[in-house]
């Protein structure tokens, strides 16, 4: 399988604070990779570095073998290929549900209005939000917002979708509806990179689980091994805390 993304020796410092150290891993087409770990272990920062919302201090990010940290590929073009779903949804508050999914297609992909609308409707239908296209983000629930955010990212028809703790800001009863959409997406063969605290999702859906601890990748393996037979003590301690917690 071809690597979409390859991350080499990636590091990130905020001033003197070293948040990521020597991160190496890759994502292949169609793979679902879950990143787990305690708060402050650098999971979200890693994801934000991959989308260049944070700029890495060292290392390389190869996208189809091309280093995106060199200036020869535009950040905008690359970002449009890497969809992002945020913990806080970040729907555009001035636009309706439909326009949230249309604006990027028109501005970035230069699609015409009709085509953009059609694509948006298709994905809104898929996440079960096609009835709410006229609503403003303030008028819908958290779970609904996150489903729209997923549809917005999909409308750009990205190569991979990055999820930054997509269910962490949701009320418990709304977590299920979002996870269901994500499971469907995984089944459809979409490449996904998911930072999550939902161990059930990681166990059932991921092809590979990356455990991060204190800014480094402590362990990386298939979910069966990570959850049943972790080799790293810190992985064991973390899972014990979280599963029995």
């Amino acid at each position: 399988m071809a690597n979409i993304l390859q991350i080499k020796h990636l590091g990130k410092k905020f001033g003197a604070n070293e948040v990521l150290r020597d991160i190496n891993f890759s994502v292949s087409k169609g793979e679902v990779v879950c990143i787990i770990g305690a708060s402050g272990s650098g999971k979200s920062t890693l994801l934000r570095c991959i989308n260049l919302l944070e700029y890495p201090t060292s290392g390389d990010i190869l996208y189809h073998g091309q280093n995106i940290l060199e200036q020869n590929i535009s950040n905008a073009v690359y970002r449009a290929k890497m969809g992002m779903v945020f913990q806080q949804f970040n729907l555009f508050n001035n636009l309706t549900v439909l326009d949230n999914c249309v604006v990027g297609q028109i501005k970035v992909l230069k699609r015409n209005k009709e085509e953009a609308r059609k694509t948006a409707m298709e994905y809104l239908e898929m996440v079960g939000m096609s009835q709410f296209i006229n609503a403003k983000p303030t008028q819908i629930s958290g779970g609904q917002k996150q489903r729209v955010a997923i549809a917005r990212a999909l409308s750009m028809e990205p190569e991979a979708l990055l999820f930054d703790e997509p269910t962490s800001a949701l009320d418990p009863e709304m977590v299920g509806e979002v996870l269901k959409v994500m499971k469907d997406l995984a089944k459809s063969g979409l490449t996904m990179l998911v930072v999550t605290h939902e161990m059930g999702f990681a166990r059932d859906v991921a092809n590979r689980v990356v455990f991060m601890d204190d800014g480094v990748i402590a362990e990386e393996d298939v979910p069966e091994v990570i959850f049943n037979n972790p080799t790293n003590d810190r992985t064991r301690a973390f899972l014990k805390r979280i599963l029995e917690g």
Partner: protein, 263 residues
């Protein structure tokens, strides 16, 4: 008019004698205040946008330098025009240009220029505050789908920032309606100047300026209501329509905030 005429008779008399003067003055006041506020608003948006251009790892040293210089110039403009009285600015601009360039500006365009640059200085800071108050997540979401900074500003951030600063803009408008009276020092025939002319003809200052007062109040009150109505309109409907399925187009529901269904 006899000497023992009552207060209200005087007021009525002064209005009858001078109403074209009052109305022309009010018209000029509104013209200068409205045009000045609109141009000032535009100046404010341009400066606010320039001063919030992000500097990151991609910014070249040249661009950083230019931004720094522009920022300092804009800051000077803001500080000078916020830190001096408009009345003094009017004198300096009006007589200064006449002396240095030998150009004698028409008073009304001169007034519009002065009010515009004065309002621009205030609006620049209001707009900057409005942009900074928008949640960082809105920028990030726009960048994450590949929008450039310019696209993010025009499609996502400015519409929200402008909505948020409308109350402050209304405030500026009301202040401008009142403060154009200081432009009487450069002989602009706005409401205050014309009231003085009217009062000078009959020496009834109290009665004359009571009329002036009422006209100012009517103008500011009306403007405030209109802008409030406009703000509400911009917020859009508080209800939204459920989009019916393709097969059952009559399936339309209206949802009120709070999620109650109405057939």
């Amino acid at each position: 008019m006899s000497a023992d005429a009552s207060f209200f008779q005087w007021v009525a008399f002064i209005w009858e004698q001078n109403w074209p003067l009052f109305l022309r003055g009010a018209g000029n006041t509104l013209l200068i205040a409205l045009t000045g506020t609109i141009i000032g608003f535009i100046i404010g948006i341009i400066i606010g946008v320039i001063r919030t251009i992000p500097v990151d790892h991609n910014t070249t040293t040249l661009k950083k330098g230019i931004l720094k210089v522009v920022d300092i110039l804009l800051l000077c403009y803001i500080e000078v025009f916020r830190g001096t009285p408009m009345m003094v600015q009017a004198m300096v601009v009006f007589y200064g240009i006449a002396m240095v360039y030998g150009i004698h500006l028409n008073p009304i365009p001169a007034g519009i220029v002065i009010v515009s640059i004065n309002t621009g200085a205030y609006m620049a800071e209001i707009v900057r505050g409005g942009i900074l108050s928008i949640d960082k997540g809105q920028f990030e979401a726009a960048h994450a789908i590949g929008m450039t900074h310019a696209q993010t500003m025009t499609s996502i951030i400015l519409p929200q920032a402008i909505r948020n600063i409308l109350p402050a803009t209304s405030n500026e408008f009301v202040i401008n309606i009142k403060d154009t009276c200081v432009l009487s020092v450069i002989s602009i025939t706005e409401l205050f100047f014309n009231s003085k002319s009217a009062a000078g003809a009959n020496f009834r200052y109290f009665e004359t300026f009571l009329i002036t007062c009422i006209i100012y109040l009517i103008m500011t009150f009306t403007v405030t209501r209109i802008l409030r109505w406009w703000e509400k309109k911009l917020d859009g409907p508080s209800v939204y329509t459920i989009h019916g399925s393709q097969t059952v187009p009559e399936a339309q529901f209206r949802i009120v905030d709070g999620g109650k269904l109405h057939g």
